[in-house]
């Protein structure tokens, strides 16, 4: 780290440094692109994990987290834009492909325009939306943005802001679909998009030429809502992002707040959280597998998968009282004691899972139709996985050996034995199989813990009124879909100044276009299903 600081400081004397959780760089916009290039090419920070729009009151800007895909080191970069009227920043889309949609998100919510991003359109909001809702001075008057029942116009062109040689910025038009393109609209209401996702797809016969992604059909503005609530009130929202990773998401937010408060979570709570996380992962993979098979026409598999899922839901329900939105993790630990027969129920589940997994493989994985539909379809390379920030089973099956549980260990995961499931094919089959293998690993983790749940408190003592000190924190966990992150910026009050949920599904949706080009239109279903994105997690 010291090495990075020295070299960068020599090359770019304007850059300021600080040491927080990670090394922190404060870069002026004029140098941002060059610094990013140096970080990527000289120090291997090739993965843009998060690009977070910020409104600090006086100034707007972004905060980025960059990860070295090999050593898993992380650094934070802050870039401030000039003024509030018409703020511009330089884009890093050419260095990190995923920046393309991240920057569009920031543009949509904060109105910061990125010079050099080839597509500066709204991403989540209607294109006739008035104002930038995440700015602190946003006008919430409902007459400005009433519920409109007319359809917005669909555009075939977009704009790019280009900096001329004289430093002047001008607009240039970019074509998304040419008039001769044959464009099929898929979604937002389509049974195979797994939620309300809209894909405008240009096809040439059966072959996909390009996909244009429309998000926001379930954008609930959760991050903005959090700014008006106290910390304990924000936790339940995480259950409703990726509702199949509810416990893992809330685990993440709780850890982030605990880190800021410097609360030590009792050992018993840690173990319970870990078991619950893994049960949740089983739940998530089961449903992903079931609905995916149904999309391919194998409805039986859905029923088989849901059968095991119901067993898991019963375990959850006995302890937490809910089947889906649990509200189980709280700041400092967990809410309730385990149910009396928790241990015996989980043991029963561990007994039936290996048999069930064998059955799934017999019914579906070896099936010749399944093989033909999945093998060699939608191949993701490890380089593309890093560039598009595809984490989780999808990234690992492409050969990028990244699992937050190992890369940025949290909770009691360092003590546990499990394999990070990696393979190299990167096709739909690999992604599908990776989930099944991960289910085996989750069972292995639970088996290590279930007999060793220590006695003790389930929740640490925390103050009645929770106030975070001034500062910022970033915490990640591995959910069923990939690396889920929480970013909190606090000004020392009872509610966050900015809370950002960095969702893995957002990046998964961003890679669809890349994977589908040149494939058949029917493969869109296979690719989308094996990527397994949850749309409310994309849109937040």
């Amino acid at each position: 780290m010291a090495n990075i600081q020295e070299t960068i400081a020599k090359q770019f004397p304007e850059v300021e440094f600080a040491q927080g959780e990670t090394l922190e760089l404060n870069v002026p916009d004029a140098k941002w692109h060059d610094v990013a290039a140096a970080l990527k090419n000289d120090f291997g920070f090739d993965n843009l994990r998060a690009l977070i729009g910020m409104d600090w009151g006086e100034e707007l800007g972004i905060v980025c987290y960059l990860v070295n895909s090999k050593t898993y080191e992380m650094i934070r970069v802050k870039v401030v834009a000039d003024g509030r009227e018409n703020p511009f920043l330089h884009s890093v889309t050419d260095l990190f492909t995923v920046a393309g949609i991240y920057e569009r998100e920031v543009f949509d919510f904060f109105g910061i325009k990125f010079i050099g991003n080839p597509d500066m359109r709204h991403l989540f909001l209607r294109n006739d939306w008035v104002g930038y809702p995440f700015r602190k001075d946003y006008d919430t008057n409902p007459t400005l943005n009433p519920v409109r029942l007319d359809h917005e116009e669909t555009e075939d062109t977009t704009v790019e802001y280009v900096e001329g040689a004289d430093g002047k910025i001008h607009k240039e038009e970019r074509v998304i679909f040419a008039p001769e393109d044959f464009v099929v609209n898929i979604g937002p209401q389509h049974p195979a998009t797994h939620g309300v996702l809209r894909l405008r797809t240009a096809v040439d016969g059966e072959e996909i030429k390009k996909i244009d992604l429309y998000l926001g059909y379930i954008h609930r503005g959760i991050e903005k809502l959090c700014e008006g609530l106290t910390y304990p009130q924000t936790i339940h929202f995480t259950d409703r992002l990726d509702y199949l990773g509810a416990l893992m998401n809330s685990h993440c937010l709780c850890m982030c707040i605990e880190k800021a408060l410097q609360v030590e979570v009792p050992r018993r709570a840690q173990v319970i959280r870990c078991i619950m996380d893994e049960l949740m992962r089983l739940n998530s993979h089961l449903l992903a597998m079931g609905t995916f098979c149904m999309d391919l026409g194998a409805t039986t598999m859905l029923f088989y998968a849901l059968r095991e899922r119901e067993t898991i839901l019963d375990i959850f329900e006995k302890t937490t009282g809910a089947r889906m939105t649990f509200n189980y993790n709280v700041i400092g630990g967990v809410r309730q004691e385990l149910a009396d027969d928790f241990v015996s129920d989980v043991k029963k589940l561990l007994e039936i899972m290996p048999k069930a997994i064998k059955e799934y493989n017999q019914v579906f994985t070896g099936n010749v139709i399944a093989k033909n539909r999945m093998e060699g379809v939608g191949v993701l390379t490890p380089e593309a996985a890093v560039a598009y920030n595809v984490t989780g089973p999808a990234g690992r099956s492409a050969g990028w050996n990244y699992d937050v549980r190992r890369a940025q260990p949290y909770g009691i995961y360092p003590e546990l034995e499990f394999d990070v499931v990696t393979c190299t094919e990167g096709d739909s089959m690999a992604r599908f199989k990776a989930r099944i293998t991960e289910m085996e690993q989750s069972c292995r983790i639970i088996a290590q813990l279930i007999d060793n749940i220590p006695e003790g408190e389930i929740c640490a003592k925390v103050p009645k009124v929770i106030k975070l000190p001034e500062g910022h924190w970033f915490q990640e966990v591995e959910t069923g879909k990939g690396a889920f992150g929480c970013y909190i910026e606090s000004t020392g009050t009872t509610s966050p100044w900015r809370m950002k949920f960095n969702s893995p599904c957002f990046c998964l949706a961003g890679v669809v276009d890349h994977l589908c080009r040149g494939q058949k239109i029917a493969d869109l279903i296979t690719i989308g299903g094996t990527l397994d994105y949850i749309v409310p997690d994309i849109d937040r």
Partner: protein
Amino acid sequence: MEVTTKSMPYEDWKDNEYIESLVNELKASGTNVIVGSLDKLINWGRSNSLWPLTFATSCCGIEFIALGAARYDMARFGWEVARSSPRQADFMMVAGTIVHRMAPVVRRLYDQLAEPKYVIACGGCAISGGPFKNSYHVLKGVGEILPVDVYCPGCPPRPEAMIYAIMQLSRKVKVEKFFGGVNRKENQKEFLKNHPISETTN
């Protein structure tokens, strides 16, 4: 007249006053013998084969999937034929949050449903905006844009609650008069007149 479904005794329903008021309305309008029995036959058929539109935007939709699976098995009631096309469905189960960008789409789906059509608002979000009520981008219930027939509270409602809601709907269908008169389509028409789709401005 006791309006109920096969699987549930009349006394077990929680809101019989409402259904009785509908029955009285039906009686007050008077019935012709032949048309009356035809009505009964048609309503018997329709109330036992309500086909939902597969429409889910978020968390509540997952419980709707669970409703279709073996444990809760909505096939028992004749609702399992979930259609992906609104043209073939009888009712729309609005399961999940409806946001500004989605609103025109929901309305279009509703308009595409073939008459007679019904709407169930399923879950806190579809009823009132639920936990996201204060958001700049969330509708305060689907009732803002569609005429709702049955509300099903919960976050998410348990599959049992969803069964109860659809059974309520099938009760409502039973006290309709198919040939003219009381089929409550007047209310729907009025609602839609008050919530017009404004002309696209461009």
